[in-house]
Point group: C4
Chain length 270, copies 4
Amino acid sequence: MSNRWAYVRWKLREPFAEWLGMLVLILIGIGATCQTKISEGTYGNYTNLMFAWGYAVTLAIYISGGVSGGHINPVITICLAMFRGFPWRMVPRYILAQIFGAFCGAAILYGNYKVALEKYDPEMKLYGTNASAPLFITMPSQEFGDGMVLMIDLYREVIATGILHVVVLALGDENNAPPGAGLGAFITGLTIIALGMSQGWISGYAINPARDLGPRIFLWFMGYGAVVWHHDSWWWLNGAILSTFAGGILGCLLYDVFIFGGDVSFVNFP
Amino acid sequence: MSNRWAYVRWKLREPFAEWLGMLVLILIGIGATCQTKISEGTYGNYTNLMFAWGYAVTLAIYISGGVSGGHINPVITICLAMFRGFPWRMVPRYILAQIFGAFCGAAILYGNYKVALEKYDPEMKLYGTNASAPLFITMPSQEFGDGMVLMIDLYREVIATGILHVVVLALGDENNAPPGAGLGAFITGLTIIALGMSQGWISGYAINPARDLGPRIFLWFMGYGAVVWHHDSWWWLNGAILSTFAGGILGCLLYDVFIFGGDVSFVNFP
Amino acid sequence: MSNRWAYVRWKLREPFAEWLGMLVLILIGIGATCQTKISEGTYGNYTNLMFAWGYAVTLAIYISGGVSGGHINPVITICLAMFRGFPWRMVPRYILAQIFGAFCGAAILYGNYKVALEKYDPEMKLYGTNASAPLFITMPSQEFGDGMVLMIDLYREVIATGILHVVVLALGDENNAPPGAGLGAFITGLTIIALGMSQGWISGYAINPARDLGPRIFLWFMGYGAVVWHHDSWWWLNGAILSTFAGGILGCLLYDVFIFGGDVSFVNFP
Amino acid sequence: MSNRWAYVRWKLREPFAEWLGMLVLILIGIGATCQTKISEGTYGNYTNLMFAWGYAVTLAIYISGGVSGGHINPVITICLAMFRGFPWRMVPRYILAQIFGAFCGAAILYGNYKVALEKYDPEMKLYGTNASAPLFITMPSQEFGDGMVLMIDLYREVIATGILHVVVLALGDENNAPPGAGLGAFITGLTIIALGMSQGWISGYAINPARDLGPRIFLWFMGYGAVVWHHDSWWWLNGAILSTFAGGILGCLLYDVFIFGGDVSFVNFP
């Protein structure tokens, strides 16, 4: 009743689920960004975009939740390992699967929008009107353009990812009052909507390193140049990775120090 | 305690349910399209439209779910027959009921908007401002008007329908973590909203052949001419039917190859 | 442990619940209409308005659902009496409570907006820009202004109320697949949102005679004149009452003839 | 398995939970206000703002619900003490925690937006375009600027808080039909959305004294001047505190007099 592939699938079920969830997350999220921006608001606006990203997270968790736990975010994977006993040996395969899912999603969308993108931004720009790179990767806002701003953006990324992790831990804490009936994924999506509406500006609103890194590697492969790595003082590293990790850890500490009573967290070790 | 009609209703309960669900789906979905477009944005915008289509699907599933399973889409019917053991002998009556429901919905709306449509588009056009046919049927986008574009549109239709089917199989997989409390219909509606916000442009966003074919047959009856069949390189066949089927099968394969462990899928046959 | 008032409250619990639910429905729904229109779109738009009416219905049902069943609509009360064995002797008190709740809600809002309304429309108009009557009552659309239109508007009201009743019966049919966990009220709210987005134009979108009649009586008391009764060919009677009843009965017939198998409906009597 | 801090956390678990919930509520709610207003509508509009505040309340309740009951609002705390037997000795710590949470949230956001705020409003104004104080505190509307208006605004605040409390009591009444599956927090969020869409204008839409008072104290510390206390005839006291309490008590009375049958309410004492 089984076959060789079923064995492979069973052994790799968690990375497969994370990969497929992340793929759908990117297809919907970056798909909505492309649709809204390239159509210049005819087929979407900022409100749409926020709902699309939120529902994308909801669907990604439904696709993977029962198999891999539905992390779909390297920060969540690492924070669960640090604070909730998620096995560290699983972490690398989760993160690789997440980044590869985001890479594949960006590639499929790029192929789909190729003709449109060649008209929209033939020069493959990172800045300015009709820049196409910001459709795929996160970037700090350019509105308040002086040196101070990067610090602000990093700060913001920490806040947003911190809120996300407070909520994620609350929704998974059986001693609190989480939603039942398999609706945690829905409420997590609402969290993403609320964060986008409240923290989506100024900072590029990464909150998920894989969502940034996968498409960024793809853009680099496509010839956007080394600038995708060193723009905005290495934003990809400082903003999308280090700040989101700092925010995730801070959020988990807040929840575990002030709310969580379970002994699985090191905060509660004697 | 029963009567003759009750016997007929019992024998035909599944096609009746699919028919009534599809009727309501079209009354709400195409109704919202008409309202938004004919009022020129006074009574709706793109955001409204996406929510209306999504909630329409939710309601259609609640109307038919307990009786017919709430497919409301020929691609889902055929994919469930291919991948989940839905009996093939039921497929024709499901599909006919779905197409006929969409036909009836279009007819009721056309009657309702008749006066308005005669002012809005007295020439019964397919293209241009105030064209009335696109209110009822799906069409590829005209924005990037060269030969390449049709391929892009077909590609997009495959992606959108593929995502839908990954989600539909996940929401029906008891070994994953689907929503309980009868809320699968609600989450399926969110999927439609997310797809419309992210994949609704460029392609005409069919993802459901009956939603296109029923109203198309009605427009043909009303005298829009044979152009409804051969416009855009036979879009009705290539886009709304073949591409959506290709997408549905691709999505089901993705889910069954990488996630699904049940032995009802032929992917898991030894 | 009890007192005299508790006895009164127990005897009149259903009309009290319907009254309070309707009061809140009107405070939110017509409140949102006033806010959106008087602020000229600064504090709301058509999308907001649709969500506000939908959520208003959800909340009204939560306020009254466990006590009176949460009808909050005379058409639903009468249709449940006709098709689901709701006792006819309860019907008058339900309908009076609903109309009185809507009347009270309109009065509270009118008092609240009095200063604003005196600036917005000192002449107490029914038509034209800055007309204040349409903030409170439903009226057929004036866009396509010839004799044909009233028929269209009535037709539309029938469709909208019909869809509502198909959904209401489906959500209450345990042999179908209704939402659990007390979320029927939420899905009913989504139905109102979807109807507003798809059928809210052209017709004034009553679907609920009490929502129209209560505020209408209030406007008449306030001196808007007898025109509130005979405008648009007695719309209050033909549109807001007769058409909604016709629609409700039609929707129930559709559901019971094609879907419902229970013997509580006269459609299934032998 | 426990430690000293765990003991402190256990003793202070309710104020800690209220504090963290309120902190997140403010970070999302006022964060969305700042983003929408400072970006001048590019990154949000009134619809976004309403959803952000509503979802913020939902998330705040999920963060604190299982520990403190998720009041996140001094009016709710006091009303539950008056009408539902919530222990009065807990009230002060709840209210202090709520105000302090709002204070902290305002401080974090102010720090985050410092550079932007210095460009947006270098004069730290309360009125006029680019005034920054209304981003943080509630104020009566200035549109209908004569003496009558303050009364109207107070009236409105009473209505909005009254509706909120009718709904909150209904959602907590097991003899009514509240949502199950831990979704009360979600429906409470919808209530906030509906209130913002229908009562958010004219009045500053406080409905929560801590949401106003915490940030107000912070602005005073930051040097906005004593005007934050005496503007608009002591709005902070009359509007944000006294009117919301009046509304809360009125709403609870309405529910308990007309609906509630339990003997925990003094309305039902013999």
